[in-house]
């Protein structure tokens, strides 16, 4: 199975990120995660959980003025310690990001060909060779008539087609690590399926490691081998996609599953009471305790750390107890 024995491409260890302005808690609080060659790893959480900040850190992108402790390694090199020139090379050749909104991430006044070949040209590839690679990539992501497409502008493409262009651009430098931050959230459902099938096919063909960031647990389960669940800047659970659905160990994961509406079930979704912890709050114990129906007095006092329970990593004091009905 890819990933279990493969080389580690992304290795984040105890990453803590604090914003410059006076937030009460860090945006990321001791995050550790791994992505191996050929592996698809999901990073799931709701708004404010820190999932996007985590994925961006892999490219050395931190919020303005933020301070970070811990390490972020891509193929063994510490990203947070890289000088600017090395960082640019990393983003060009080793790790690439597919962002959520292609209209906001692709320069609207430049041609699609310029976008796809930008990294290659900056890395010294001759124009003709770069254009040929770009044509092959557009072909691979299913853009009709790639040669003409290279000369067109972003506004001439639909959202789904432009997201394929972004995937082509991300793959241009031949990265070993692909980061995808809600890559299909802005798309229609039928378009989402198409973009996901392209993304996962190319990832499998090339043996690329994928960190797939999403708020959608079902989508993550459909795409990924292994899933990390984040809440309030921390990883609260990590296990295989199948395991997560069959037996969630953290009450927040169980709550998310129960809140997800199911098409084939008459059982209505159940909300998780309360609301997520804002950056202005820094609860003493478990950040989820205030919303947790299983919370015990010690949960509000003691901060649970991620620990192995039956082969699963979970940050809950009561993880040994069965939590789902």
């Amino acid at each position: 199975m890819p990933g279990t024995t493969g080389e580690t491409l992304l290795e984040i260890d105890d990453l803590t990120v604090r914003l410059a302005s006076g937030a009460a808690r860090p945006v990321l609080d001791g995050v550790s995660l791994r992505v191996a060659r050929g592996e698809s790893v999901g990073l799931v959480g709701e708004s404010g959980s820190g999932k996007s900040v985590t994925s961006r850190a892999a490219l050395g992108l931190l919020p303005a003025g933020a301070t970070a402790t811990g390490t972020v390694r891509v193929a063994g090199d510490d990203v947070l310690a890289m000088p600017p020139a090395r960082l640019r090379e990393l983003r060009r050749r080793e790790a690439a990001m597919v962002f959520q909104d292609p209209r906001a991430s692709i320069n609207p006044v430049r041609r699609v060909g310029d976008f796809v070949t930008e990294g290659l040209r900056a890395g010294g590839t001759p124009a003709r060779a770069a254009r040929k690679t770009a044509e092959e990539l557009l072909e691979a992501v299913g853009i009709p008539d790639p040669r003409r497409a290279l000369r067109r502008f972003p506004h001439e493409f639909s959202g789904g087609m432009l997201q394929r262009v972004m995937i082509a651009g991300a793959l241009a430098g031949g990265p070993r690590l692909l980061l995808a931050d809600e890559p299909t959230t802005a798309l229609d459902v039928t378009t989402q399926a198409e973009v996901i099938s392209i993304l996962t096919r190319l990832q499998a063909e090339r043996g690329t490691g994928l960190l797939f960031v999403t708020h959608d647990l079902d989508l993550a389960a459909a795409v990924c081998d292994r899933i990390y669940v984040m809440y309030a800047g921390r990883i609260v659970e990590e296990q295989t996609a199948d395991g997560l659905f069959a037996r969630p160990r953290h009450p927040y994961t169980a709550g998310l599953l129960a809140a997800t509406p199911r098409m084939g079930s008459a059982e209505p979704p159940r909300g998780v009471p309360g609301r997520p912890v804002s950056l202005a709050e820094n609860p003493e114990g478990c950040a989820f305790a205030a919303r947790c129906r299983l919370a015990a007095p010690e949960c509000a006092a003691e901060r649970p750390t991620l620990r192995p329970v039956d082969g699963v990593s979970v940050a809950c004091l009561r993880a040994e107890e069965p939590i789902h009905d």
Binding site: V189, A221, A222, P269, R270, G271, P273
Partner: protein, 269 residues
């Protein structure tokens, strides 16, 4: 069905230039009923919703509220107020639909002042009752919208819409901008409100997985036209039209096969 629908549209059509955004759409919502209108972008679902509340004028067809023709935009204050009393709309983004300078309490009192002749004490009592119905307390009442979370703001939008005791609510992607754990709270609230107040819903959404939990009936739109309509559970369990089937297959789940869906989608075009 002998009961007069609270809301009915017949042959509704809206063209922009030579493009028909909505093309011959008909449906009826019984009192206290709930109809989901589902489609992707460009399906005409939002244009349909806007015609129901009078934000767009139909190019053809009729909108009937309690049997009375409301197709033309209301003229004059009395007609406008009467229309607002009948149907209210809740939008997707509660960050944009509330005035940032007005407290929650004042935002809910505004429609009460406009529509009812209540003395201040009675108005405040009614306001508190409405806020309580949607699960908001005194602390939220005194707050400005920016102090509230997305889910709380959507509760305020609901309280405001319900203030006029409308016969029907048009919910345009009203839960789409919310996190899943909060969306489910609002879905629960919508179920409660319909059960206790008997208000009818037109629930406009791109999200098929929500439909069964908020609606009795379902209308699937594609490129302005109805492709399938029926009882929500029946359509979801046994879709007849290949497009409905494609939409259902597209919802991610374990064992999901995006490559097959992509092939089905191309076959449909």
């Amino acid at each position: 069905m002998t009961e007069q629908p609270v809301l009915a549209v017949e042959g509704l059509r809206k063209t922009f230039g030579d493009h028909a955004a909505v093309d011959d759409v008909s449906f009826a919502v019984p009192p206290g009923g709930s109809l989901a209108i589902v489609g992707e972008s460009g399906s005409g679902k939002t244009t349909t919703a806007r015609m129901l509340v009078g934000l767009e004028r139909p190019s053809a067809g009729r909108v009937l509220v309690d049997g009375a023709d409301r197709t033309a935009p209301p003229r004059g204050r009395t007609a406008r107020l009467a229309r607002a009393r009948a149907i209210q709309m809740v939008f997707q983004d509660p960050y944009l639909s509330l005035d940032p300078r007005v407290t929650v309490a004042d935002a809910v009192e505004e429609p009460l002042r406009l529509h009812f002749d209540l003395d201040p004490a009675a108005r405040r009592a009614r306001r508190d009752e409405l806020l309580d119905r949607v699960g908001l307390g005194e602390r939220e009442a005194a707050a400005l919208p920016r102090r509230l979370s997305g889910g709380q703001r959507q509760r305020v939008a609901l309280a405001r819409a319900l203030a006029v005791e409308p016969r029907a609510l048009v919910l345009d992607e009203a839960t789409s901008a919310l996190d899943v754990s909060i969306q489910a709270q609002i879905v629960e609230l919508l179920r409660d409100l319909r059960a206790s107040l008997g208000v009818a819903y037109v629930f406009v959404s791109h999200d098929l997985s929500l439909v069964r939990h908020v609606a009795d009936d379902l209308l699937v739109l594609r490129r302005g036209r109805t492709v399938e309509a029926g009882r929500a559970a029946a359509v979801l369990d046994g879709p007849r039209h290949p497009y409905t089937r494609l939409l259902l297959d597209s919802v991610p789940r374990p064992g999901w096969d995006p490559a097959r869906i992509a092939a089905d989608r191309r076959a449909l075009d």
